[in-house]
Symmetry: C3
Subunit: 208 residues, 3 copies
């Protein structure tokens, strides 16, 4: 009868880890596709499968949150953590969809740089998320969060530089529109990684 | 003296219904204008009047929320419900404004498809909002929320297809810029409908 | 030992005032640069220094919030106030960066109008923020908040008019893309000012 009030904290951590794993898979697949300079049907389908798994797991977190009385962290932090980690996957998936729909093929050096930075950031972020289960590593996690803030700054410069180059060298306005959107999306992924890092930081500080 | 602490729940529901009615009016007017393929002064003025009424009612919800001690649902859910339902109206109003300002006239088949889907979604959403007054229908409301999630997926595909067509067939880059923005706004309306559905779902699950 | 539970309210107000001062500096610098019609290295560096100070102060508010048990207002209002006031500075800084990166020089009358309105709005907003320390002026602060809502409406019209003019008179699509983004950013600054005003209004109403 009181089952719904008991803290199944381990389940929350299990679900967070699952979304974190999906985000790592998405970043990895995006990196591969970008290095190859082409997005085929198989890549689009694999990415959509990852995104779908991410959605379902996020949905499970929120459903669990709405039914659970005692939670391991503040409710709004759990909600934000799941939602924004899932947003990382959504935006990567959207980029892959656009590269395909907009017929943008060929290796783009600036996008490769973004994909490498996104891959690094998402892997750091996944480590930080997984560390939340054990607060003994909190100093290490906080250092990762600071690093994710620096990577977001780097992403800002990358976007500015990439768009400036585009305006200088691309003469077809339609291509400018397409690539500008892709670069902005890439930077958005790093923005969201920073947002997740800020949530993680808040969780650790509140428990100190 | 204690008047402000008493739960005037019926007033909250009355205000929600009023915003929901405004959103249905806005979607209906947008559908008509899109089917006719022209936005005249009268349409712009009618839409702005609806938007103004939506704003005022949302303002009334938030003012009431700030003064009320006991509320029928979680405070943040009430705030999100009113705010996001009002955002539906704001984005529809913005689209009508842009169609006029950008001088985009003529029937656009893709936009008609969007307007029909928006009209359906907003009507479902309004039913779900009005159902919150009586939790006996909660299963039916939850089914509507699931359906609104599917409609948002459909909206994503519509936007991708519409923008892909635009890139393929429209040779004037200025027109590409204009229509791309309209399609993105149309999809945003469906995104917000899904967000409202998620809030409704949370309200129901928490009360179960 | 109980030090962390004591309300150092004065510190919160001091930090809010500091972010408000940064936003006034940013708006002032943006106005000057816009009136001169050129952004030199010194301007970019000064703006980045302001933005950096704003970031650090916002970070201090959130760090303090996470460690403080009793706060002068609702926690989410403190968080939103600092975060959104900082967003005002971020978007102004981003605009300056883009004007430089996109090589948009020369006095642009529409942007000057925006810069003047932003300068007025940010100064009003800073007064309202500073007034929160003393609730005796609450009627005056509420009047300022209403005025900031009107200024945002004015900003909407300015953006629509500016973009319409751009579509009519600018024949280079790349320039259309660049300026459209600047005008939208300018309007976003006024949107965020209105959001901050709404938070201030909520703080006052809850304390009434």
């Amino acid at each position: 009868m009181f089952r719904k009030f008991l803290p199944h904290n381990s389940d929350f951590f299990g679900l967070f880890n699952k979304i974190a794993d999906c985000s790592v898979e998405a970043a990895e697949l995006f990196k591969q596709a970008t290095l190859e300079g082409k997005i085929d049907d198989a890549t689009v389908q694999r990415m959509e499968a990852i995104e779908h798994r991410g959605d379902e797991t996020t949905y499970a977190v929120i459903a669990k949150l709405n039914k659970t009385f005692i939670t391991p962290f503040d409710r709004e932090d759990i909600h934000a953590l799941a939602k924004e980690l899932d947003d990382v996957i959504d935006v990567i998936n959207a980029m892959v969809g656009k590269l395909r729909t907009y017929k943008l093929s060929g290796v783009n050096k600036n996008l490769v740089d973004f994909a490498l930075l996104i891959d690094e950031s998402v892997k750091s972020l996944a480590c930080a998320v997984k560390g939340l289960n054990n607060m003994k590593n909190s100093q290490e996690i906080l250092a990762t969060c600071v690093d994710l803030n620096h990577k977001e700054d780097l992403g800002d410069s990358m976007r500015d530089k990439s768009i400036a180059e585009l305006f200088e060298s691309e003469t077809n306005p339609i291509n400018v529109i397409k690539w500008k959107e892709i670069y902005e999306d890439a930077e958005t992924v790093l923005d969201i990684c920073e947002d997740v890092a800020n949530v993680i930081e808040a969780i650790i500080v509140k428990q100190a």
